[in-house]
Symmetry: C2
Subunit: 282 residues, 2 copies
């Protein structure tokens, strides 16, 4: 795979971790970072995530591939302008929602240069200092509406993800957003709400966290996630997230009803059903 000049727009957790992989797998002849946050620019250079920092327009001009790893609200704002400016460059977006992005670029004359992807990887931390080695490996990446991308752009992007060790899946943007609501976005809402539940209790009982166990930490760790990333995701995937949130509240109400009515046989059934997740999560 020929090395390319690659610009990464947004050198935070995702962009920074991808930069490390592009370096380690020898996929970039030069890595250019673009970030509106000056501290992030400085940190990304210090950590050696990128070779240089440029303004967006210069980076577009001097790169063969432009990778977008920014919050999904900024994504839909700047993507059409980027497509306006490119010639033969490949543009790859890494956003967590896809329906709106695919819709607003649908009729752009450069639509073929865009490959819409969602690597199913992340942590609850953010910024370039959160970038980690070995990220993305052995996890799935979804390529959305691949038929709308040019063959060469699609091929390069797929090869990049394969080199990093990801499993490729293809899906239309509508299905993607529905699925993401169920197996990613709702987990963040339950975790944020659980954190708020216990933090609320802490106001009257300061010692409440003394018993916090590994199990609690596991269910609540996503609550550390960055609002500037997550609010735009919830905005763009509002309807799907509302559907799954309603279903989740109704599932919780079943547990509540069992306890209220002391119906422990049904409680047992609910837990046995939940245990079927063993089939999915090893």
């Amino acid at each position: 795979m020929e090395r390319k000049r690659i610009a990464i727009v947004g050198i935070g957790l995702i962009g920074g971790s991808l930069a490390l992989q592009l370096n380690e797998k020898g996929l970039a002849s030069k890595l250019t970072g673009v970030d509106s946050n000056r501290d992030h620019q400085k940190k990304a250079l210090e950590l050696g995530l990128v070779d240089e920092i440029m303004e967006l327009d210069d980076a577009i001009e001097s790169s063969e591939v432009i990778i977008l790893a920014i919050p999904v609200d900024s994504m839909v704002k700047i993507l059409p302008a980027i497509l306006d400016k490119i010639d033969k460059q490949i543009v790859v977006d890494l956003g967590s929602t896809k329906e709106q992005l695919i819709a607003i670029t649908k009729d752009h004359q450069k639509r073929g240069r865009l490959v819409a992807t969602h690597p199913m990887w992340g942590t609850e931390y953010s910024g370039p200092q959160a970038a980690v080695h070995g990220a993305f490996e052995n996890t799935a990446v979804i390529i959305c509406n691949p038929n709308e991308s040019d063959a060469d752009a699609l091929e390069w992007t797929k090869n990049m993800y394969k080199k990093i060790g990801m499993h490729l899946l293809e899906m239309d943007a509508v299905s993607h957003d529905l699925h993401a609501a169920y197996v990613s976005h709702i987990s963040h809402i339950t975790s944020f709400a659980l954190a708020n539940t216990v933090l609320e209790k802490e106001k009257e009982d300061e010692a409440i966290f003394e018993l916090a166990s590994a199990g609690f930490a596991s269910t609540v760790r996503l609550a550390k996630s960055n609002p500037s990333m997550w609010v735009p995701i919830f905005m763009q995937n509002r309807e799907n997230v509302l559907d799954v949130l309603n279903e989740h509240i109704s599932q919780l109400r079943k547990f509540k009803s069992c306890l209220e009515k002391e119906n422990y046989e049904y409680l047992q059934e609910l837990i046995e059903n939940a245990n079927k997740i063993r089939r999915i999560i090893k």
Copy 2:
């Protein structure tokens, strides 16, 4: 610390993992296993968790310490009978709920021999094959109502937990059950309910788990937990669990309302508040 003849009643995840620690830290001169499940008896011997298997009455007679690591419904059933039978032995229970246990033993003439403890450690797996080396280390153990235990029994138990590398906390049983509802029991309910939410969707959309990420796995892993352990915990801690579950549902409704009303400023605030959990969970 002098080695003692120790019987462990219930050689599953908790009893088995404790057996490994008692062996490794040289705290037992002999380890006797008691378990009503014949497969567990066999497996515990095969794995070398205990030196021998005995019936409960024989184990009580031939041991200096009796450790109870059984579901909390069995615990409150057999504990009074065990106290009836002991002479100078130390009895240590490891149950996840304490109010009922402390209440039913309160006036027993052998109450002093009992030390009521809750090590804040566990995994979502069960049975002797789930026992792991290094369990319990660097986590908290709560000693409930320590003033009701005899000094020698309390001292031995505290030293045992210290040798294993646990942090000791003391608490009355009522506070314990309240705290455990907030930082352990509710995590299991949210995880069971989240599993059921997504499994329900899978009925109409088989591919729903294709995108399952590490974040999802983290919030849902407790849903693999054993109902025979958890139903009795929820029964005994019903009122506290109901209180926290109601609060949790009302916190989730705030997220729902933000999305319905498209009030993204408040959504941002809710997430920023949840981020305060960073102070607790590193």
